[in-house]
Amino acid sequence: MGIVMWRLGGERFRAAAVAWGPVAGPFKIAVAGEPRNRDLYFHALAPFATDLSTAVRAAADDRVARTRGSRTDRLPANGLQLVVANRSTVGALGLLGRYLAYLSDRSGVSPDPNLMEAGKHLRFYARHSRTPGQALIVPLDRLLSEHWATLLSPLEQANLAALDAQIEPGRGVHAFEASAAAERIARIGPEPTEDIDRVTTELVEAFNEDRAGSVDPAVVTPLLEPISAHYRALVEPVWALIGRSVSRERGLPAAPSVAGRFESDREAFGRHVDWVSDGGRYRTTDTPRQAAMTLRRLEQARSRYEAERAIEDPACMVPYLLDADAIRGTVTNLNEDHRTVVRVRAVQRPLLTLDTDDPIVLPAGKKLWWTAAAHDAPWEVVSVTRHAAGSRAVLMLTTVARNDRLPALRGRATFSTLRTRSEGFPLALATAPPWTHQPERPPAAPEPIDAGDAETPAAAVDGSAVADPEAYR
């Protein structure tokens, strides 16, 4: 499902327009007119919330068994993947989710449960987006900047239109000129620029005047057309850009490790849907124990993702080779029958000689993993000597020989500090953290943040009417 969102300037919880639908297909659009009015806002968001909640539940319904050892889990066969233009949209959806997930009643009337369910899903997606290598929610600016080498600086890579223009600048146009032009013209969202909201201001003011305080759909819906047209015109180019980017990326072969990572995504997705279906609530502030566990999980995911990228894509290994975290060369000798004493007995430990093209410096005893068996036992550096223009490294496998553990003689091989499996199992954290990690007050239970919904919306103020508009940034 693709999602494009435009906020009202400065209003972090107010989606002025949300468009959703199948990527490269037609989209639906929800426009509230005055998103700072709770009734209008919720009425506009309801179809989006219903579609999202239905799609999430449908994706989680179909389960497959996964057996690991004696444990069998039923994971969703697929997960609902959300595709958005950029990381800012992920943040905006997360805030919208935080707002909708826990809503208070108004005059004894409960809000639409679909809104609250959709809020919980959006929060989950935004939090899950922090997991390196995840693919449940795909901000295309991140995806493209990981897949393509461009001339853009990291800051400029946040602009999807600029990235797209660098990748496919068009015939006869330099990538730099194409991306600079795209940056000037394209409006991606979710935060509107001044020119967009100057138009929005006039439309919203006219809409508010015409509806004369009414929130009745019969009165309001016909008045929405000009604002809908305004946002539809803003969504269409972004939708097309998303479609084009996804189509181009689908033409690339998936890395072998993608399936494994998506299995982790499906597992998290299934856990989330089960939790929400059972009426579970998420903390909005982690306990110290939760924070420590989350940090460890994210760090492990980061190490695994970086290792898998470098191992599967030789171009991603180059920085590790340059930083001396990896060595590459030709295997000039392989002694499979070499034996060494481990504890009390002499055991088989193959020796390998690697001639590198460049000089290397490695301490004896350093552990390196052969990239073709990065999930397996490491090799240990025995010695490094100068050899021709490069070095000659002798490495010893730290386990017995097996065909899939040994590189071919006279073949090129890369050894690095990267591995795709952690050693041993992590120890579980104590259920009661030590006093040094206990906050003065326990984190608050999830609470609604919508008390301000009853406030009168602030009037829009043009930049020319204040002495220094920059002061309000």
Binding site: L8, G9, G10, E11, R12, F13, L95, R98, Y99, L151, L152, S153, P154, L155, E156, F176, A180, R184, E191, P192, T193, E194, D195, I196, D197, R198, T200, T201, T284, T285, P314, A315, M317, V318, L321, L322, R328, D357, D358, A444, I449, D450, A451, G452, D453, A454, E455, A458, A459, A460, V461, D462, G463, V466, D468, P469, E470, A471, Y472, R473
Partner: protein, 395 residues
């Protein structure tokens, strides 16, 4: 902007800088701009524009390289409404939030608005700076009663020029100590800011104010550390505008900004070396054609020099797109970002990077970077073989 002096040297420097500005849009000096300028302090063109009081965000207005620095009217409206909420009914909400957040009773504390009662010109600014200094001294040396100073004016020396800077922020006197306070209209939810970048900018501004405040105290012979390294940020909480206060230490930021401002090249050196007739006037001339204005800008950067660093320039300087185009024209590796440029010391162009990557002999300046570049070139060629040129099939 520069302090007026009887000496002919200063006057001629001021005249030279005024000529540089010409009819270009003028920037009012304030602490927020100073904090932003600290990020681009190493660029001679930015230093010259800052010293001459040129509004770099508006000079290129109307050209294809004008940067979108404007703000949504809704965002400005929200900011104005939040400011009004804090000030209305005798600053009742501000007093409440300070009392709750700082655990000191501000119910009867005076709130001095230094924006009122002074002329909106240089004389007024000078008088406000003097009143600010006196108030700050009183807070620290007088009775330890709570007080809020709004609209202070502080003095700073930047690139050898002493100038006055107006502060958006508040100075809060608590127990004989001064805390810098900042109002921002983006909300905080669950104790966390909803915009990390905006929080960073707000803390930078508050840290700049704290630094200038410490210098002001030092000038009057009072311990500068009485300006606290903690600052307070007042923001709305959750979906409404109801304010809440957060306290955060910015000592690290103060040290960084102090270092950056100390490293600003002397404006007098730049002014003395200015070629005759150099001015932002033709750059800002909206009646002239786009190319002529941009050529005039390129001429200034050629003569004065510029340093383009996307990470800081694109967020802080209105010249950034124009400088980026100049940098691209030169083939400057800086267009790809600071980390790329720092990895290529002594290599002037991207073309040279490509040549060194294919094993071309380096010059003396390029020698330190040449080895790693050549090695990277070999490794990338091995990892991603360049396709062989297509052979035309014989007819």
């Amino acid at each position: 902007m520069a302090k007026r002096s009887r000496s002919g040297r200063t006057t001629s420097k001021n005249e030279a800088l005024a000529a540089v500005r010409g009819n270009a849009p003028k920037a009012s000096p304030n602490v927020r701009r100073l904090a932003a300028f600290a990020k681009v302090h190493s660029c001679p063109t930015a230093v010259l524009a800052f010293a001459a009081g040129v509004d770099s965000n508006r000079v290129l207005t109307g050209t294809r390289l004008e940067m979108p620095f404007g703000q949504s009217p809704f965002a400005i409206g929200r900011g104005v409404a939040f400011e009004n909420l804090l000030r209305q009914h005798g600053h009742a909400e501000l007093r409440r939030v300070l009392t709750e957040g700082l655990e000191v009773d501000f119910a009867l504390a005076p709130v001095e608005n230094l924006r009122q009662g002074f002329q909106p010109n240089r004389t007024g600014l000078t008088m406000r700076a003097s009143v600010t200094k006196n108030h700050m001294k009183e807070i620290v040396t007088g009775l330890p009663r709570p007080i809020v100073l709004d609209g202070a004016v502080l003095r700073a020396e930047v690139g050898g020029i002493t100038a006055f800077f107006e502060a958006d922020e508040m100075a809060i006197g608590v127990g004989g100590e001064i805390l810098v306070g900042e109002n921002k209209s983006w909300p905080v939810v669950d104790g966390r800011p909803t915009d990390a970048d905006a929080l960073g900018s707000a803390l930078d501004q508050a840290a700049t104010y704290a630094l200038l405040g410490r210098r002001t105290l030092a000038e009057v012979g009072v311990d500068p550390d009485r300006v606290s390294g903690d600052v307070v940020i007042v923001t709305p909480r959750n979906t409404g505008l109801s304010p809440v206060l957060h306290r955060q230490n910015v000592d690290g930021r103060i040290r960084r900004i102090e270092r950056l401002l100390a490293a600003v090249p002397a404006v007098s050196d730049i002014a003395e070396d200015l070629p005759a007739g150099l001015s932002f006037d033709p750059v800002a001339d909206t009646s002239a054609d786009d190319d002529a204005r941009l050529d005039a800008f390129a001429e200034i950067t050629d003569q004065v020099g510029n340093v383009y660093e996307p990470g800081s320039c694109l967020t802080s300087c209105g010249f950034a797109w124009a400088c980026r185009e100049c940098a691209f024209g030169r083939g400057d590796p800086a267009v790809a970002g600071g980390s790329v440029a720092r990895a290529l010391p002594g290599v002037a162009t991207l073309r040279r990077v490509s040549e060194l990557g294919r094993g071309a002999p380096p010059s003396v300046a390029e020698a330190p970077a040449a080895g790693p570049i050549a090695r990277a070139g070999r490794l990338y060629d091995e990892a991603v073989p360049v396709p062989a040129p297509r052979r035309r099939r014989p007819a």
